[in-house]
Symmetry: C2
Subunit: 414 residues, 2 copies
């Protein structure tokens, strides 16, 4: 067996015991984790400093350095996140539709953990703790494969968490870190059938596509968002301008940010300058179709590729459409199925948009930026699924579970 297979079997064994651990014990382990993070802040900062020094020496971009860096305040924030997970209800053990069938069998579906969850992610060490805490609460063992840039930070986090979990009487192997940070370990995880019950990739489109195309283990596809805001001709234009500004500029790097503005031809001449006035505050680069370019004459022109691009930056594609049907066609062609919004005062247009757009989250008169586990009332989230199977939209604790039917009889045969 390879190192990773040994680690996987240890996780599988640990997962079997964790599956029947009570909420009290799991919460005690989580409390030990948050206490340990707080008590060992200096040790975590020292490990992170090594990662930061190596990253600076390697000329990492400033925005990535910022994601990698830990501070005492950020570590406190991570510990608070663990405390919040303690406060969430435990989904495990809940029995749905428990009833007695005509033949006297009592049948219900009990919520159970998935088993072993693998995470592949990039240079954000906070994900190491968030993911481990959500898996622990939902009764799953986790195998963490973080990026090499954050290896020292991840290692100290995992060591502290393993100690904490063991101190609460659970197997330390419910949390483990993949020591090989090359592409080899990613490819090995993709093939760990019979061990990994769910693989969640978090990162850029390149990583996610590689994982989805090559995995033999079950995967949930997350977080690629080419989101649209469509301003229909009856829209309140002031509201529409506020929404597109918020959807584009409040945090352009995240997956629920808007990438394309669609606007009805009839109102484009009035609306586009209003929107531009707000977007200019962040020097947002506009990439316009021929028609909108005649209105926003100073802007760039859009290429075909722009309609399909998640810019992740202060860049917005702009297109005039002839009405709802054309907007729906454009969205159907280019959406990644994440979040889509219409701004309208038309009842019929709002209902058709809700009915016909095929995405995890469909909005009327609100910013796409609300697609989030906390906002949706799920508590913490482990990612946002853009696939239709198993989980769609923000994934909370419940999306890390499966069901099993329990059947209690008194000798029934068929």
């Amino acid at each position: 067996m390879t190192q990773l297979e040994i680690q996987g079997h240890a996780a599988k064994t640990a997962a079997r015991a964790l599956a029947t651990a009570g909420t009290t014990q799991k919460n005690a382990a989580l409390a030990a984790i948050s206490a340990s993070l707080r008590a060992n802040t200096d040790k975590i900062l020292a490990a992170n400093a090594k990662d930061m020094n190596a990253a600076r020496a390697g000329d990492m971009r400033e925005s990535l350095l910022d994601r990698l860096e830990l501070t005492a305040e950020r570590i406190e924030g991570i510990a608070v996140g663990v405390d919040e997970i303690i406060a969430l209800p435990d989904p495990i053990g809940h029995v749905e539709n428990y009833s007695t069938r005509p033949n006297g069998l009592q049948i219900g579906r009990r919520r159970v953990p998935l088993g072993v969850i693998a995470f592949i992610y990039e240079a954000r060490p906070n994900v190491t703790v968030d993911a481990a805490a959500l898996c622990l609460k939902s009764g799953n063992a986790v195998i963490l494969r973080g990026g090499k840039e954050a290896f020292n930070s991840n290692l100290v986090f995992v060591e502290l968490m393993r100690e904490a979990v063991a101190s609460a009487g659970l197997s330390a192997d419910v949390i483990s870190l993949v020591m090989d940070t090359t592409r080899n370990s990613v490819n090995e995880i993709l093939n760990l059938t019979g061990i990994v019950d769910l693989l969640i990739p978090r990162g850029g489109a390149g990583l996610i596509n590689h994982v989805c195309e090559n995995a033999k283990v079950p995967v949930v596809q997350t977080g690629v968002g080419n989101c649209h805001v469509y301003v229909e001709k009856t829209a309140d234009l002031k509201m529409a301008a506020d929404i597109i500004f918020n959807a584009k500029c409040s945090r352009p790097s995240v997956c629920n940010a808007a990438e394309t503005l669609l606007v009805d031809r009839e109102i484009a001449a009035e609306f586009l300058p209003m929107a531009k006035a707000l977007l200019d505050a962040k020097n947002t680069e506009l990439r316009c179709c021929d028609e909108s370019h005649k209105i926003l004459t100073g802007a760039k022109t859009a290429t075909e590729e722009d309609w399909a691009t998640e810019f992740g930056d202060y860049i917005l594609a702009v297109k005039c459409v002839g009405g709802l049907d054309e907007a729906l066609e454009h969205i159907a062609k280019y959406t990644t199925g994440h979040s889509e919004a219409i701004v309208t005062e038309s009842y019929t247009a709002s209902q058709r948009f809700l009915d016909e757009v095929d995405a995890a989250a469909v909005y009327v008169n609100a910013s796409t930026r609300f697609t989030d586990g906390g906002v949706f009332g799920l508590g913490a989230e482990i990612g946002i699924s853009t696939q239709k199977m198993h989980a769609r939209g923000p994934m909370g604790l419940e999306q890390l579970t499966s069901g099993k039917y329990i059947i209690l009889g008194s000798g029934q045969v068929r």
Copy 2:
């Protein structure tokens, strides 16, 4: 584009319209299907006769010939199955957890179809109608890839269904048959990403493993059942004998039939002859471990391979175990995660078995043969999932759906 890609795009377009069709219209299409099957019984029988003649000429086994054959009575049974699907509640459009968040956003999760479902199945023409009717009711387009042995029967079924669906004002392309019955079309379906939202294989372990290992589209794994009955030392032995006889012999070819009997050492000498007396009525071949072989001296001895085999026949592997822990270990090692049963009068043993066995259905004091959508209260089923993601156990209409969040605002930004 290949023929199958053209067919896939037509299904995708048809699925978009079907997704917003009302229950009344979908039920009208289903009623037209069942009426057409009844009105065209002779035409269906003539097509089936061609398949039967070719199969007999090709020396098909008697049990497979029986699966392939249609009679007027069987066609009536298929039509009744469609009528029963009409009577099931439509899951589409139901909104879960619809509530108003603190910021005034109204958020709920609406149940929606998956889109395009592909079925790959073998020589049972009734599956053609069952699968199409369940997909239609749940708002999904379906691409049917049946076995070559049933091609003429499948073709007439699909032609009649397409006419019926069109007569109800829906696109005929919501139901289509793959005309190529070679392995090539299976492999092409596995790669129809962006078109097929869910692929369900139904058939032998060979087909299912091939599909699961090679599919790039989402798959639900169904119907491989290596099921165990464990007779614990406190069991009511008469009840236990009735249960193992029923689980093995009531229909040995199906996936919820038992394949291995585990029996506590302490009661083996008393129990095994009782069980054998019943199993002998069907000339059941017993394959025994060394210890049980000393009790059932005339039986065969089991090989390692027997513990992992779904016999699908009147064959039962028999093993003595030292108690619950050894039984749980054996099941964890060999289960396919379908259905597992314990027979016991011990409260603690029953609870531990329910807690610790990882399978779609876990039974106390009842036959594994009850794992079935109808018995579990789901209505008709499209298969029994043995995976943990998305659907586990019998798959009814709800398991053919996804959710999408709908969010109604009044200008909220974040």
